[in-house]
Amino acid sequence: MAIEKNYGNPQLEEKLRDRYFYTDDSNPEFLANVEKIGRTIAHMCFQCGTCTGSCPSAPRSSYRIRLFVRRAVLGLEDEALTDPDLWLCTTCYSCTDRCPRDIAPTDIIMAMRNLAFKRDIVPRNFLKTAQLIYTTGHGVPNNDVNRAAREKLGLTRDPPTTHGYPEFIPGIQKILDYYKLKENADRILAEEGQ
């Protein structure tokens, strides 16, 4: 007698269950979130490893982009977001250009970093850049040595950016406040005692 497709046989279902890949801390929504934020098709990955082979960070660290893509597919959210290697991607997009499945592994990393930030997991240098942009509009602001050099070149001491036109800064602050970026950056750095 043929067994129905939904089996209805607890013993057989137990036998067929993919125990190797099933873990209790797998979050099925993780893959969907990563794909939405990263605008890419992580589930198409067949683990060929072209990405890790193309990666300039791989030979000098334990960072493996292929592992992160697998974690996305398996929903291993905690494991992915708490791994410090997540921040070793230089976003060079070599893996993205070479992926035979047309996935953007780099954007998977970016999406995971976005999700990590929601848990306050973020390197402090990222937050300091955000704070600088909030106050000056620039991630790398001007300084006096540079102002003198600019003057010698016949340029204005401050470039015609938000430096030269600080009236544009409140608009930038409104954008950052809309996403509570400054608030969160200040809070996370304060908690770390920075």
Binding site: N114, F126, A130, N146, L155, T161, K174, I175, L176, Y178
Partner: protein, 300 residues
């Protein structure tokens, strides 16, 4: 368009105006001699840094980059810029928002708070691609603008990542072994040289330079080894952030790894400026961490 000049809103970003002002001055002056006029994009901000901002919250990145695009839309002008990081933010966000209504609506909701609206009415270009584009400038026009050929110099090219990759959101074609910047270098009378793993990253991007400097410099060091192997007199790039990583990075490599390369690193605009007869002072080459003298002695 005034006369025969192609006009663009010149988006500066951070590192060019605030660390290597020679790049900014060179871009304005060299482009003028080949029929391109760069007008100041008043009130532009950080692009914002794709590594830092994109990693924290892509929505902030879209909105902040869109604000810069809107400033150019208000001038009714395409944007030209000289930094690959800025290109990643400004070009790519413009491209994404043009094709994604959901993200565009989200961005416009934020921009409404500051009385702005993203329309998607302009395009974004890297000045280097405008130099290469025969419809705007072209290699021949570059060659014709030269008064002091860089004869006898061997120059290696670093393309940088965010100008050409990911290729499906760009229009440059091959990203494994492109040769168009070499053509621009050869037009200056210099000899462009090939080296191993030319398209490898400089190591600075994605926030890695700030997160793990040693790791970042180790990537740079690999590039430096490959560059030393072919005996280049100088390295040229089209990205002030790559320039910072190679230029100041060599000092840091010396401190951390004890290797001294002393390879001058020049932005293509600085190189073009030299070839058009500008003096090292006009290009503020003294602000470079690595002394450019060995290279300058060959051409001056």
């Amino acid at each position: 368009m005034s006369g025969n000049m192609h006009q663009y809103a010149f988006f500066l970003g951070c590192i060019a105006p605030n660390r290597y002002p020679g790049c900014e001055a060179a871009a304005i002056k060299t482009s003028q001699r080949v029929g391109i006029e760069l007008l100041p994009l008043k009130g532009g901000s950080c692009c914002p840094a794709p590594g830092a901002f994109g990693s924290i919250d892509l929505n902030v990145w879209y909105a902040m980059a869109a604000r810069n695009v809107v400033l150019a839309e208000q001038m009714n002008m395409d944007i030209a810029l000289i930094c690959n990081g800025c290109y990643k933010s400004i070009f790519e966000v413009n491209h994404i928002l043009k094709h994604n209504d959901e993200l565009r609506d989200g961005v416009n909701e934020v921009l409404k708070e500051i009385d702005m609206e993203y329309k998607g009415s302009i395009d974004v270009w890297h000045l280097a691609e405008l130099y290469y584009d025969p419809a705007i400038c072209g290699v021949d026009k570059i060659r014709a603008s030269i008064t002091r050929p860089l004869t006898g110099t061997k120059i290696a090219v670093h393309y940088g990542c965010h100008l050409m990759k990911p290729k499906k959101e760009r229009h440059f074609g091959d990203t494994e072994n492109p040769m168009w910047i070499e053509e621009l270098v050869d037009a200056l009378g210099a000899e462009s040289v090939q080296y191993r793993n030319k398209m490898q990253c400089c190591g600075a991007g994605g926030g890695v330079r700030g997160y793990d400097l040693t790791h970042s410099l180790d990537i740079t060091n690999e590039k430096m080894i490959n560059l030393r192997e072919v005996g280049a007199d100088a390295l040229t790039e089209v990205c002030p952030f790559c320039q910072l990583q190679y230029d100041r990075g060599q000092i840091e490599i010396k401190e951390k790894f004890g290797i001294d390369y002393g390879l001058p690193v020049l932005h293509y605009n600085e190189l073009l400026g030299l070839a058009q007869g500008m003096s090292p002072q006009e290009l503020a080459l003294d602000l470079h961490a690595i002394d450019c003298k060995p290279f300058l002695e060959k051409i001056l």
